[in-house]
């Protein structure tokens, strides 16, 4: 599912404006699945998935597959509507160098919420 967001992020004027200073390798963990997003200047250059033995990343976001599924619904339920909501419910952990994340919250929230647009299209 996540692979489909690169084009949407890279063509989104708001996210490109907000994320123009973001250089970051983000590892996203969903249960047993891992995605590695390589971001330069706010553009997602690659989204890889695999086992990533000894993989390098700057920041890691970890939640269960069920949590991400609920988070990525086009209209999430209360408590699943924002990354900080997941943090509050202790469903998400963020590890590593969190400075790029905190310094660019609108960008990272927008990127991580992008699968909702795919969900909305699937519903339509």
């Amino acid at each position: 599912m996540l692979e489909g967001i690169a084009a949407l992020v890279n063509q989104d004027p708001f996210l490109q404006r907000k994320g123009r200073f973001v250089d970051c390798v983000l590892m996203l963990e969903s249960g047993d699945t891992r995605w590695r997003l390589t971001i330069h200047g706010g553009k997602i250059e690659s989204i890889e998935t695999g086992r990533f033995i000894m993989a390098r990343h700057d920041v890691l976001m970890r939640a269960s597959a069920e949590t991400w599924e609920r988070f990525w619904l086009s209209r999430p339920a209360p408590g699943y509507n924002d990354l900080f909501a997941l943090l509050k419910k202790r469903l998400l952990t963020i590890e590593g160098n969190v400075q790029p994340f905190m310094a660019n919250l609108f960008y990272f929230k927008g990127v991580l919420e992008m699968p909702r647009r795919l969900d909305a299209k699937a519903e339509a």
Binding site: P78, N81, A85, Q99
Partner: protein, 283 residues
């Protein structure tokens, strides 16, 4: 477009708070029962802009909102540069009472949101006879910290961006875009370290769990209104306060988030007006 001037008057009052003179900005509109509005952490009185322009409210209430010292158009006290700003429950209660006294408000209704909703509980506990009624929006007795607030005031993050980014998800999904982004703009305009200093009260000093059961609603009616999508003060936290406070009346507002009066004024008023009607009837 025809020019429109709002029926809102803004002035400054100089008042002593914590032994220091503060120049405090306040706005008001309407006539009748004083309705003293308390804004959320890191924001200012503009959050109540729709209420000032609602004739169904201003025909019966004198709506007043002040910017807390350090917020909005209120100055920090002289010498502010020597200390980090930090709000405490004691200082916040003193501040609200000082403003009410300075404006000579006769048993106002106090309505506060978030930190204002928390201090509303303190006001109900400590000064019930000074208020006609108390309305807590997004009121909880405590919130367990869920992110490191150090990030709100550091040289390697932009304060305005990080404060607004931290609260953006607290706005409900149905908020009109203009109101959503106006609400966030207020956060982007906060002074350095001010939101963080307010959260010291909200997340550390202002834990009122052990005391809420002592609130006496026979002395001062307590109304609690909470948006469904608020995860900082989720409905269950407000319901827990209501469970402990005999006589407290609760409304859970579907689709709304943490800033009901600012993020979605049209929907919020549908929940607020019955409360205001009841206050007028009781009066």
């Amino acid at each position: 477009m025809t020019a429109f001037i709002e029926p809102v008057l803004g002035r400054y009052v100089h008042v002593s708070i914590g032994g220091k003179t503060c120049r405090v900005y306040f706005e008001e509109a309407g006539a009748g029962i004083p309705l003293l509005c308390l804004h959320t952490a890191g924001a200012d009185g503009r959050q109540f802009r729709a209420l000032f322009n609602d004739p169904e409210v201003t025909s019966r209430f004198r709506v007043i909102a002040f910017d807390m010292p350090w917020h909005g158009k209120s100055s920090p006290p002289a010498g502010w540069q020597h200390d980090d700003y930090r709000l405490t429950s004691e200082g916040y209660v003193e501040q609200v009472m000082a403003i009410a006294d300075a404006l000579q408000l006769d048993r106002p209704v106090a309505m506060g949101c978030s930190i204002g909703g928390r201090i509303a509980l303190y006001l109900a506990l400590k000064h019930p006879q000074r208020f006609r009624a108390i309305i807590g929006l997004q009121s909880s007795a405590f919130v367990d910290p869920y992110y490191d607030t150090e990030w709100l005031h550091r040289p390697d993050t932009h304060g305005g961006e990080v404060c607004a980014g931290a609260v953006s998800g607290l706005i409900g999904p149905d908020a009109p875009d203009a109101h959503r982004w106006e609400t966030l703009w207020h956060y982007m305009q906060g002074g350095p370290g001010v939101f963080k200093g307010d959260l010291f009260f909200y997340k550390v000093d202002g834990d009122i769990r052990e005391q809420v059961a002592s609130i006496d609603t026979a002395l001062c009616p307590l109304y609690l209104l909470t948006g469904e999508y608020d995860y900082s003060c989720p409905p269950e936290d407000t319901l827990e306060v209501a469970r402990r406070v005999t006589g407290a009346k609760v409304t859970i507002m579907p689709g709304l988030g943490h800033f009901p009066m600012s993020e979605n004024p049209e929907v919020f008023r549908r929940h607020l007006l019955p409360v205001l009607d009841e206050i007028v009837r009781r009066d």
